[in-house]
């Protein structure tokens, strides 16, 4: 495998899956071509201004920023369905339509869903 696509389809904070997907994607940067795709409820991770201090858990947006070399794409139809398109989003993320999102999946050697 030379490339891996991690698909995150669960919301951040309510479950460890977003944290797990970010960590797994980060370690995979070492030697592989990595894409993290936010899809379904995973697109909530794209909201700008997350502050998890009072919740006492890691700030997942900060982890995204920390791995600037990680390619993160956001499934735009999922954003629209969730009324997130009008909100401020993390600017380093790439919004993609369904066609481009699927092509990114198909262009990777494997797809991992947590």
């Amino acid at each position: 495998m030379k490339s891996v696509f991690y698909l995150l389809d669960t919301a951040p904070y309510s479950s460890e899956k977003a944290f797990g997907a970010l960590n797994a994607a980060a370690v995979s940067l070492n030697g592989m071509n990595v894409t993290l795709g936010l899809y379904g409820d995973g697109v909530y991770l794209a909201a700008a201004g997350q502050d998890s201090r009072k919740l006492g858990v890691p700030n997942l947006a900060d982890i995204l920023y920390a791995y600037g070399e990680l390619k993160v794409i956001v499934h735009e139809p999922s954003l629209v369905e969730r009324d997130l398109l009008g909100e401020t989003l993390i600017e380093t993320l790439e919004l993609t339509d369904e066609e481009d999102f699927f092509e990114a999946i198909e262009g990777s050697d494997c797809l991992i869903l947590l």
Partner: protein, 99 residues
């Protein structure tokens, strides 16, 4: 803190969850629902849940902040969300549901 009989709903699921649908249907049926949004439940604010008929909405401050969701005019963000919720659940409401 006397008030007319209400039903309390704690909703921690995002709008995509079938459990959210069930919760909101029961809340609308109640006619006098106090809907407490915690966890991913706060994402319902994006979809305009505060317009739901017969529902008073409460949201948890720390969950709003973590998820970068803004409060809204018709939405109460209690200083102590869990104290308000427990008071309502234990003393004020007729029925209490968690989704």
């Amino acid at each position: 803190m006397k008030q007319e009989q209400c039903d309390v709903f704690l909703l921690t699921k995002p709008p995509s969850s079938p459990r959210s649908d069930l919760c909101l249907k029961l809340a609308v049926r109640s006619g006098n629902a106090r809907l407490y949004l915690a966890g991913d439940g706060v994402y319902h604010l994006l979809a305009g849940i505060e317009e739901l008929p017969g529902c008073k909405i409460f949201a948890c401050q720390e969950d709003l902040e973590a998820r970068a969701i803004r409060g809204k005019e018709k939405v109460t963000v209690p200083e102590n969300f869990y104290a308000a919720l427990i008071e309502d659940v234990m003393e004020q409401c007729e029925r209490a549901y968690t989704f």
